[in-house]
């Protein structure tokens, strides 16, 4: 890299990370001040761990994200398999466009549209409040599905079409052929899709905000409620913890990536050697 490029990149990184660093530093501040650091203290962390509402929100968020990721991965993978086999152009285009809608639409419109439907249906059944954990889960599955499908579809297209056919010719039932031949081939896409669904669900605020009832809080909604009133550095402590969790996860996934790339390279080399040995 040239010198100017290096300086430019460094400046952007300062812009990206300065706010994070400031949150981190002030989470250890003894006073409540946001501009003067008056001494190191863990008091905001202690207070955070005593805040039952936040802890409950963490559990809620994780339960919701796990369920949404699992359900959307299973349904999305099946949908991708079906869409990949569609022969009709018209149907395929229709499916593709509908799948694109939640990704193109602003979150606020997805949230409002689902909320309106839930409220309307709830009113039909005479319920006073129709928004709860269930509606939120439905909403999360809905906005996760397109991302899973988009991760799995390319893997299916790359796959050798003869593979499942061969499995069936050799006596596998279609069901078994899918699990034994097709699924292992598309597994990287399925896993990436699931991780994406999980993180999208964890991170979502806007759609959750419109589709959650009053009683049920996820972490982003809890953060929203915390920042609505007067500020406590408890929020900074929470942000710092989230930051380090994310950092650890990213580092692990990067290491894992490099390892798998390395392994694949070795496997390919071995295969090549074996082939050469044979000829």
């Amino acid at each position: 890299m040239k010198r100017a490029s290096k300086i430019y990149t460094a400046l952007i990184m300062v812009f990206l990370f300065a706010p994070m660093v400031i949150l981190l530093v002030f989470s250890f501040n003894e006073a409540k001040s946001l501009s003067v650091f008056s001494g190191f203290s863990l008091k905001w962390y202690r207070e955070l761990f005593r805040d039952e509402e936040t802890l409950k929100a963490v559990v809620n968020t994780l339960v919701l994200a796990v369920l949404a990721a699992l359900i959307s991965t299973v349904m999305g993978t099946a949908a991708a398999v079906g869409m990949n086999r569609l022969r009709s152009r018209v149907l395929r285009t229709a499916m593709d466009s509908v799948t694109n809608i939640p990704m193109i639409n602003p979150d606020i419109i997805t949230g409002i549209s689902l909320m309106l439907m839930f409220v309307f249906v709830g009113r039909l059944f005479g319920a006073a409040t129709s928004l709860n954990f269930g509606t939120m889960l439905l909403a999360h599955i809905t906005f996760c599905l397109p991302y899973v499908i988009l991760q799995v579809l390319p893997k299916l297209q790359q796959m050798d079409k003869a593979l499942p056919e061969a499995a069936m010719d050799l006596g596998c039932t279609p069901f078994r052929a899918f699990f034994k031949a097709e699924l292992p081939e598309i597994m990287p896409g399925v896993i990436t899709g699931m991780i994406m669904a999980f993180t999208l669900s964890l991170d979502d605020f806007v759609i959750s905000y419109f589709t959650s009832g009053n009683g049920f809080q996820t972490l982003p909604i809890r953060i929203y409620n915390m920042t609505k009133k007067t500020v406590t550095p408890k929020m900074y402590a929470l942000a710092t913890i989230i930051f380090f969790v994310i950092l650890t996860l990213l580092l692990i996934s990067n290491l894992y990536d490099e390892e798998t790339v390395q392994k694949r390279r070795e496997a390919r080399a071995n295969k090549k050697n074996a082939k050469e040995a044979r000829t």
């Binding site: 890299m1 569609l86 509908v98 809608i101 979150d107 409002i112 809905t142 069936m168 929203y224 990067n254």
Partner: protein, 289 residues
């Protein structure tokens, strides 16, 4: 595979998702239109839509009281701030994407991770961090006054809202442009300069047109969330700069679902129109040599 099993597989795999997509993607959008065009008793009406275009309110700017179209002003303001933020993101992000694509592979992946880390933080936290920095008693002002440079008042201005938007959505601009640029054939650039093309023209006539698909998706990915956001303006604009997202959220909180739906419907139609327009315009640009 015989025809029967094939159609059975297709039926089993596609049916659940098709039903789900119909019920939870298509039907809710129909509900937006339905609520937008009905009143409290679900009788057909144009009132909600026309209210958006005709509702007026008075603004007191210190000298005189002006009568303005409430929601049209809000919409134009959202559009203005979103466009400014998108342009700034593009100006900042394009060179970075270019630098990244030309760097060593190892550097590329490190930079990618670095850019993605803030993206993984919740946008509420990111916005809140800027509120801490920009406040009158915040970090920025204490640094400035420590350097005897005076103080600035940023929080509660449109500048603060733009800073927040740029910060929150910057990665969405860089990543698509980078992924297009990384695949760009270096030999094309070499060929251009070998044939005597000055480097400015290489950028304008080779790199730019080839990176246009990435730019396009980056612009869409920044423009759409920034035009419809509702938290950034509340926190960094001190609630003084109502945006279209705030208007929707406000009507929702006030339990005015029909009018909230009407605003959402109008926003959706306008965005759809804009995206078609962008696509048309850029297509033409690609063809022109």
């Amino acid at each position: 595979m015989n025809k029967k099993t094939r159609s059975l597989i297709q039926y089993m795999t596609l049916t659940p998702y098709s039903i789900w997509a119909a019920v939870f993607i298509v039907v809710p959008l129909v509900f937006v239109a339905y609520y937008a065009f009905t009143d409290q008793n679900f009788h057909f009406t144009f009132d909600n839509i026309s209210r958006f275009f005709t509702a007026t309110s008075q603004i007191d700017d210190g000298e005189s009281v002006k009568e303005v179209h409430t929601y049209l002003v809000i919409f134009m303001r959202s559009l203005k701030l979103a466009v400014i933020s998108t342009v700034i993101c593009l100006l900042m992000g394009y060179p970075l994407a270019y630098i990244m694509a030309r760097a060593k592979e190892r550097t590329q992946s490190i930079l990618m991770t670095l850019i993605m880390i803030p993206m993984w933080m919740n946008f509420l936290i990111r916005t809140y961090a800027w509120m801490t920095i920009l406040q009158d008693t915040g970090i920025l002002n204490s640094i400035l006054s420590a350097l005897h440079l005076g103080r600035v008042h940023i929080i509660g201005t449109e500048t603060a809202v733009v800073i927040g938007m740029v910060y929150d959505y910057f990665p969405y601009m860089v990543l698509p442009i980078y992924s297009v640029m990384a695949k760009l054939d270096v030999r094309l650039l070499e060929a251009a300069s070998d044939l005597g093309c000055p480097s400015v023209s290489v950028l304008r006539r080779v790199i730019w047109p080839l990176s246009l698909p990435g730019v396009l998706s980056g612009v869409t990915m920044v423009l759409i969330p920034s035009i419809s956001t509702f938290y950034i303006s509340q926190k960094l604009g001190n609630g003084k700069f109502y945006l279209i997202g705030d208007a929707i959220e406000g009507q929702y909180t006030a339990n005015n679902l029909h009018f909230a739906a009407a605003i959402a419907f109008i926003l959706m139609v306008i965005l759809l129109f804009c995206m078609q327009l962008i696509q048309k315009l850029t297509n033409r640009k690609i063809i022109v040599p």
